[in-house]
Every structure is written in C-alpha cells, then in structure tokens.
C-alpha cells in the first residue's frame, strides 16, 4: 500500500463497479482517522506533510469511488479503455436525437410540474444506463462497450444538472 495504489486497493475493496455505499463511507472515515493531519498536529512538520498527502489522496479516491459515473470511468481507465471525454464526443444518432428532444422539452417547460416530469424521465434513463454499465463492467468485463455507456451517462448527468438548476431557481 502506498500513495500510488489504485483507489480500490487503497480502500481495501474489490475492483468492481457495484459497491455498498455504507461500506465505502465507513472505510473512508476509518482511513481518515489514521491519516488526517489533525492526528499529527503535535508531531512536527514532517509528519504533517505526510499526513496531508495521504489525507488528500484518500479524499480523492473517495470522491471517485462514491460517484457512480466517476467510478465507472475510472474502472474503464484501469482496464486500458480511457473515456477521453474531451476528445471523443461521437455518439449514436438515436441518442443525440433523444437528447435534443429533452433539451426542447426543457426550453418549453413552464412551471414546476413540467420540470418534475422531465426530471423523472431523465432519472429513469440515468438508472437504466447505470444498470447497463454495471452489467458490462462486472459481468461481461467489456470495457470498450462500457466506455460508450459512460459517455452517454455524462450527457444525461449534465442534463440532470441543468434541470436541477431550473428547479433551484423556482424555489427561491
């Protein structure tokens, strides 16, 4: 175990997509109990620096492991299939059509009821995509196919964020 260990190894977890969030949270806290700089305030600057490095590394791994999208992308990368979101935005036409339709609905949405309806719709798509990713990663181990689903999930999550932003504005 060292700072270069992968996130799963660091957290003592099996390298797979499906994870128990409660176990993950508990493990994170156990690790921070050991490594947090607060545990080393009375032990000098060198210990502080090392603690800081570990604590940062543990938080980084936790951020990635607890977020299904980031966790999936990370697993693909570990298995030699990087997502390359910036350079590769090619998506199937049918998917893009559906995205455009959602965007139109969002533009035309009027009031909380419309937004809630759209929100339900895209959350459903989000759930289905996550299930597909889990199947591809944990059962078929088809990382290339999983990459395509991860990219689709990125589009969906960005859309969900936009819907939430509209909902937030209504609340204030």
């Amino acid at each position: 175990m060292n700072l270069q260990s992968d996130d799963f190894e660091l957290f003592g977890l099996e390298q797979r997509f499906e994870q128990d969030r409660a176990v993950l949270d508990a493990r994170w806290k156990d690790l921070q109990r050991e490594a947090h700089p607060d545990k080393f305030t009375a032990q000098g600057a060198a210990a502080q620096r090392v603690a800081m490095q570990w604590s940062v590394r543990i938080n980084e791994a936790y951020q990635r492991l607890k977020n299904p999208l980031k966790r999936a992308a990370y697993l693909c990368e570990l298995h030699g299939a990087p997502v390359n979101a910036e350079n590769n935005t090619a998506m199937p036409t049918s998917f893009l059509m559906q995205q455009m339709q959602w965007r139109e609905e969002l533009d035309e949405a009027d009031g909380a009821e419309d937004l809630a309806q759209i929100s339900r719709q895209c959350r459903q798509a989000e759930r289905e995509t996550l299930l597909e990713i889990e199947r591809l990663l944990d059962q078929s181990h088809d990382y290339t196919a999983a990459v395509a689903q991860v990219r689709a999930l990125m589009f969906i999550e960005r859309f969900v964020a936009d819907v939430n932003e509209r909902l937030d504005k209504l609340e204030i």
């Binding site: 003592g12 508990a26 156990d30 109990r33 210990a47």
Partner: protein
C-alpha cells in the same frame, strides 16, 4: 510572565505531559477563550471574572490601547479611535463593506484590505484583531501560569480564503501557535457533545454579530462530517441594529451625520433589540448632540423591519439543504449558535422551517469557544484515546480565470478538505513563454463577480507552437481551508508556486513591521522572543520525534536510527545557543531527516486501519 521550564541537557520532559491548548472564538461583537480542564471544557474569565471580551480596541492619543470593556467605556466620546466589529473588515477592501458610510471610522482604501486611520496612525484589521487575540492569550497564560502549546481559532464557515488568511496572520501576530482554524458551526456541534449523545444529521444555524453560517453535519461515532455549508459573511446582528436604527430615524424624521451620534445610535439600537427579546415593546433612547430620541418600538415593528434579513438566512439554509440533497424534515436536530439567535423572530422562523423547536440548551455565546477548546485539547495530543475527527469542507468554489473573463472552477464548494486538484492549461500564441494565472473564489461564472484571490505568472516556458505546452495547475487546500497554488509546465518542468497571500497586500515584511510596532518595540526584545520561539519549536520537534520512535522505532534499521538520534542530539545541543536562525536551521534538519520515517509510520497506520476492518468484516 510565566516561567519557562528548562530541562537538563540531553533530557526532554515527558512527552505525555499535558500541554496547554486553548480555543478562541474571535467574534464580531465579542470574543472568548476556553480550555479543557479536568476533562471539562470551560470559558476562562479575566481577573474581574468576566468571560466575554467585547471585540473592541481603542487607540489612545500618545500611545497605549484599551481593549474590551475598557475600550467600550472609554470609546463613547471617541468613536473614531474605537474600533468595533473589526471582523467585518478582515480580508476586505472598502468596496466590500456595505455599511461603511454608517460607521464612524476614517477608512483608508487599499486594493486587498482596507485600513482604519486612528490617532496612532493607520491600523490594519489584522493588527486590531491581533490585539484582541493577544489579550485572550495573556488571560490564558495567567490562568495556567504556563506557556501555551497552541490555539484553535474559529472562523465563520463561509469565510473565504482572504478572510481565513487574515485571521491566521492576526493569530501569528499575537504570538499564538495556530493548531488549526476551524469553522464556528463545526465547533458548536462538538460542544453540543453530539458526538457521544447522538448520531444522525444536524443543522447548525449560526447568526453572530456580523456573519451568518449554516452547516449540515452528519455524525457517526465521533466523526463530524460536514455535508454542506453556506451562509453570508456580511449578515449578522449588526444588520438588525442598523435596520432598526434606520426605521426609527425615518419614523422620527431625524438626520444624523457626526461620528459620536452614529455611535450613540448603535448603542441605542442594540439595547432596544435586546430588550425586545423578553418584552413586547421597548424604548429606543439615544442622546444625540442636537436633540434626543426617545421612541417606543413594538416587537412587531422590529420584526417587520428586519423580516427581509431573516428571510435571507432561510434562503441560505435552503441552498445548503439542496447541496446536501436533504429535505428539511430529514434533519434530526437544529443547533442555535450566536447571540443573535436569542431574537424570538429567529427562533420562530427556524422552528417553522424545520418543523421542530431548535436546541438552545447551551449558552449560544459560549458554545463556539467551548467546542474549539475540545478540538484544541485533542490536537495537542492530550486525549490520545479520543476518537473525535472533523471532516470539514471548503465553503466556496475555487477557480481560475480563462479567456473571456470566465471563471473555470477547479475545486468545487462543499468538497472535503484537505484536497488537491489539478487542471491542465495550454498557451494560445506561438512562442508564448509566460502564462498569467488569476485565482478566484466564488460560484459565479464571470471572474468579475468572484473574489480575486491572487495573480501570479509562470515564466520560462520553452517557446512552442500555440497549444503545445501542457501547464498543470494544482490547487491544494489544507485542513485550515487555506489555498496554495502551484503551476508546472509538464515538458520542461518549469515551476511556479505561491501561497495565496499577496492578494490582500499583507506581505511577510508588513507583518514583521506590525510585530515590531505593536508588541515588542525594542530590538533586544524582538531577538529574545525569536530565540524563545525557536527553542519552543525545537523542543516540540524533539518531543514529537521521541514519541514517534517510542511507538514505531522498530520500522527503522540501525543506520536510519543512528541518523535520527544524531539529528536529535544536534538539536538539543543547539537549543542553548542565543541564535534563533541557527536553532531554526537545525530543527529544520531534524524535520527533513525524519520525513521518510513519518512516511513509514503513516503506511503502517493505514495498513492497520484496513487490516482491522477486514478482520471485522470477514
């Protein structure tokens, strides 16, 4: 003056000896110091038995200062030289201070942080705060008749980097060893003893004299995890006073211009507000230079004129709940912090919003200092079995200016600290050899709407075609919530690094000047103090190494062990010198020489944490 303990050469005091650690609540209207004694956290009184120190500093003509109650009493006829609510100016320039025109001070505008013109010349808010902190430090030293190991200072959770840095500078200026800056709502949560009594998700509603914070915390087995935080670092009880004053002035058709009258109105408003906590109506009485105001205020009038302020706090509460992805009814309890939460309209509004009466069984004035002291005690290592752990977050996103004046967010708000994030940038002109970076903090898309923290330049990039350079910018936020930024061109290795400090224009030199001005005027005193501090640091480092060796010395081979022993002996030999620089250098050598050992110990700790877990879960 406390006596220093000197040990025999070659021997160090018992590393498990109790260290004196204090918690300080540096508040807008008043400040407190607390410490854990016999296992109980308690606020320390001054010689007259007063626990609360008004956060007021008066600069006297011909030198000298009054601090606290003396400054309040002496300042009545001298408002220009009597600085109150200085916390509102920390890390702020004049344009940030909305109520500047209503205050009796002569401000001096500077790009990063304003100054206040007094009879003793211009004073920085950092200097004024340092006076308050030093007063509390002396109080603690007198109480224990010993030197302090260190202090935890609280800041509003919603303080940005400039405000935090200013607070830390003030503490250093006051001669305090800062163990940690912690957030006020988090400190309050600790004091409530929620750690042993309860598990679940709590909201801390903290309305102080000048700041408002809301934090949502999840508590599990001694771990205080902040899930989301929000607030307004320029909204507090002072604003309720001003709103009340404005309303009374409008009702009575009074116009006030001079500084003495402004100060009288402020005092009148506060007295009237406090009376309205228990009474349905109260008199607003202010003796002014021309006439006097004697006006009856009903509680309902007061509530109506300040309703928009209360609504602003609830807006921040809603936002924090959204960030935490929680509904109001998922909150198990609401803790009230800050003197301003005594106002009935606040208690009612919060009770209605959360659908339950808030918890108010601890004194809202003391709760933050009490919690800070508990954390200080733990950080000092006095409570080795303690399992208290704070996992706090950064309150505002950090980013960098990109083309077109847009802010690119790199560290998102509510991310657990410490954290580090890297982002790659490139050049946009052929042969470009320098890159200017502008670091900003805030949630808005335009740089102009965010707070500018620092600008720095990475120079010496080898000339390349546009877009060919890869410049990795790393943001590191430490456990105090303070940011440092480094940039590195990946191909050539050219590096630039800054602690985000020059932003508000207080450099190390200025701090050195302030130190000289305010505390030790004589050159000899300065040197003596530097030597004493260097020795304390050296002893601290040796003690830390001794206890590390006792715990994990088996990780070292003989050669490594000999090296460390030799470095420790060198420190012990050097500590008797009268040369601060020499002591510092040799202490630094010990710190460097034990770095690899520290890494080995950490690896063991992590492995043990995991091993324990695996056995438990199998």
């Amino acid at each position: 003056m406390a006596l220093l303990q000197i040990s025999e050469p070659g021997q160090t005091p018992n590393p498990h000896e109790r260290r004196i650690a204090i918690g300080i609540d540096l508040g807008t209207t008043h400040s407190l110091v607390a410490s854990v004694r016999n296992g109980v956290s308690e606020c320390l009184p001054d010689a007259q038995g007063r626990v609360i120190l008004p956060s007021v500093v008066r600069y006297l003509e011909g030198g000298g200062r009054q601090i606290g109650d003396d400054a309040v009493a002496g300042g009545v006829g001298d408002p220009e030289n009597t600085v109150a609510s200085v916390k509102r100016f920390m890390g702020r320039s004049l344009k940030d201070v909305a109520l500047a025109a209503k205050l009796p001070y002569q401000f001096v505008d500077h790009p990063g942080m304003l100054g206040i013109q007094t009879v003793q010349g211009e004073k920085s808010p950092v200097e004024v705060s340092a006076e308050i902190l030093a007063t509390l430090r002396y109080r603690a030293e007198d109480t224990f008749n010993a030197d302090l190991f260190g202090a935890v200072i609280t800041v509003p959770a919603y303080f940005d980097d400039a405000q935090r840095q200013a607070t830390k500078d003030a503490a250093q200026l006051a001669g305090l060893n800062v163990l940690r800056l912690i957030n006020e709502p988090t400190a309050a949560a600790i004091a409530y003893g929620l750690d042993n009594a309860s598990e679940g998700t709590y909201a801390i509603y903290d309305l102080g004299g000048g700041t408002f914070d809301i934090s949502i915390l999840k508590l599990t087995q001694g771990v205080f995890e902040v899930v989301a935080t929000g607030g307004d670092s320029a909204l507090g009880g002072d604003d309720y006073d001003h709103a009340l004053t404005d309303w009374v002035l409008a009702q009575t058709g009074t116009v006030v211009v001079n500084a003495t009258d402004k100060a009288a109105l402020k005092a009148a408003a506060r007295a009237c507000k406090e009376a309205l906590t228990d009474a349905e109506s109260a008199t607003f009485f202010a003796p002014l230079s021309e006439a006097q105001i004697n006006f009856d205020v009903k509680r309902t009038d007061f509530e109506a004129t300040t309703q928009s302020l209360t609504a602003r706090t609830l807006q921040a509460v809603r936002k924090a709940l959204r960030d935490a992805k929680l509904a109001a009814d998922e909150i198990k309890g609401v803790v009230m912090v800050g003197g301003s939460t005594r106002m009935p309209q606040i208690q009612n509004a919060v009770a209605q919003f959360f659908g339950q009466p808030p918890l108010t069984n601890l004194n809202p004035d003391e709760v933050v200092a009490l919690g800070a002291a508990i954390q200080a005690n733990q950080l000092a290592g006095n409570n080795p079995g303690g399992d208290l752990l704070l996992l706090d977050v950064i309150p505002l996103s950090l980013g960098i200016e990109t083309m077109g004046g847009l802010a690119e967010r790199i560290v998102l708000r509510n991310e657990t600290i410490p954290t580090a994030k890297a982002q790659d940038f490139t050049t946009y002109i052929d042969g470009q050899t320098a890159l200017a970076l502008h670091v900003v903090q805030g949630e808005r898309d335009l740089v102009a709407d965010c707070r500018s923290l620092a600008r720095f330049e990475l120079r010496g990039i080898p000339p390349m075609a546009a877009g060919a350079a890869r410049i990795r910018v790393t943001f590191t936020v430490d456990a105090d919530g303070l940011l440092s930024v480094s940039a590195r061109e990946q191909g050539s290795g050219v590096e630039a690094q800054i602690a985000v400090k020059p932003s508000y224009g207080l450099g190390d030199e200025q701090i050195a000047r302030m130190l000289a001005d305010s505390f030790n005027t004589a050159e000899a005193d300065m040197q003596a103090r530097a030597v004493t501090e260097a020795r304390v640091d050296a002893d601290r480092m040796v003690l830390a190494t001794v206890s590390a060796l006792a715990a994990d010395g088996d990780l070292l081979d003989d050669a490594q062990r000999t090296d460390i022993d030799r470095l420790m002996q060198a420190v012990q030999a050097a500590r008797t010198l009268d040369d601060a620089k020499a002591i510092e250098a040799i202490t630094l050598a010990l710190a460097k020489g034990t770095e690899a050992f520290a890494a080995l110990r950490m690896n063991r700790g992590i492995r043990q944490a995991l091993a324990g877990k695996n056995i438990a879960t199998i």
